[in-house]
Symmetry: C2
Subunit: 126 residues, 2 copies
Amino acid sequence: MTDRTGPALATALAYHEAWTGGDLDRAMTYIADDIVCDAPAGRIEGAAAYRDFIGPFTGILVRAEMIAAFGDEETALVMYDTETIPVRNAPGAECVTVKDGRIIRSRFLFDRAPFQTAAEAAAEIS
Amino acid sequence: MTDRTGPALATALAYHEAWTGGDLDRAMTYIADDIVCDAPAGRIEGAAAYRDFIGPFTGILVRAEMIAAFGDEETALVMYDTETIPVRNAPGAECVTVKDGRIIRSRFLFDRAPFQTAAEAAAEIS
């Protein structure tokens, strides 16, 4: 893992540690009420909607490992591997803008394709 | 765009500028012969295979805009937006390890879902 100290990165890492550790309540303490997040399926606005987005990830996460993490005063950029119940290799990347210790802007990137394949396979079985 | 100077980032940005500018030959001068790249569809090994992977992106790219770029001596991490012919909003992130001015290791992340949807739509038309 590569990292840099800096207030934005400190917030990004604390948030990352919380949600990958399954502590959604603590993760949300780093999310601004009016967060705007561009995720693969579209824009998410507000902390409640963000919680609905990230919550299911927390529920299916087996493990996470940081690949690289950098940041400066305002911005942090992280990439990590995750293993989830439906998808074994599901890396993600997040670019966050931090203000007053909370994430106000996020670009959240992962590949939806294997999750869609897993969901289709599950639907065929059921 | 947020950036840091450093040899790994300089290489990553030069490579990025080349491929997003459509100059695949120049982009490949920053790729090590024995590159190992983990992309959404699986592992790509060697410069020839990497060229086959990145080449089609170059062909469908309309524009690219860097969101954030950081790096240190060995590692660079970038996230960018792209507009492509089949998919209007196709952000990507790359974490690269650089040695002697060439990328020897890459983690390449983007959402395949909209490209698959576009391909299916095109198949239905044809």
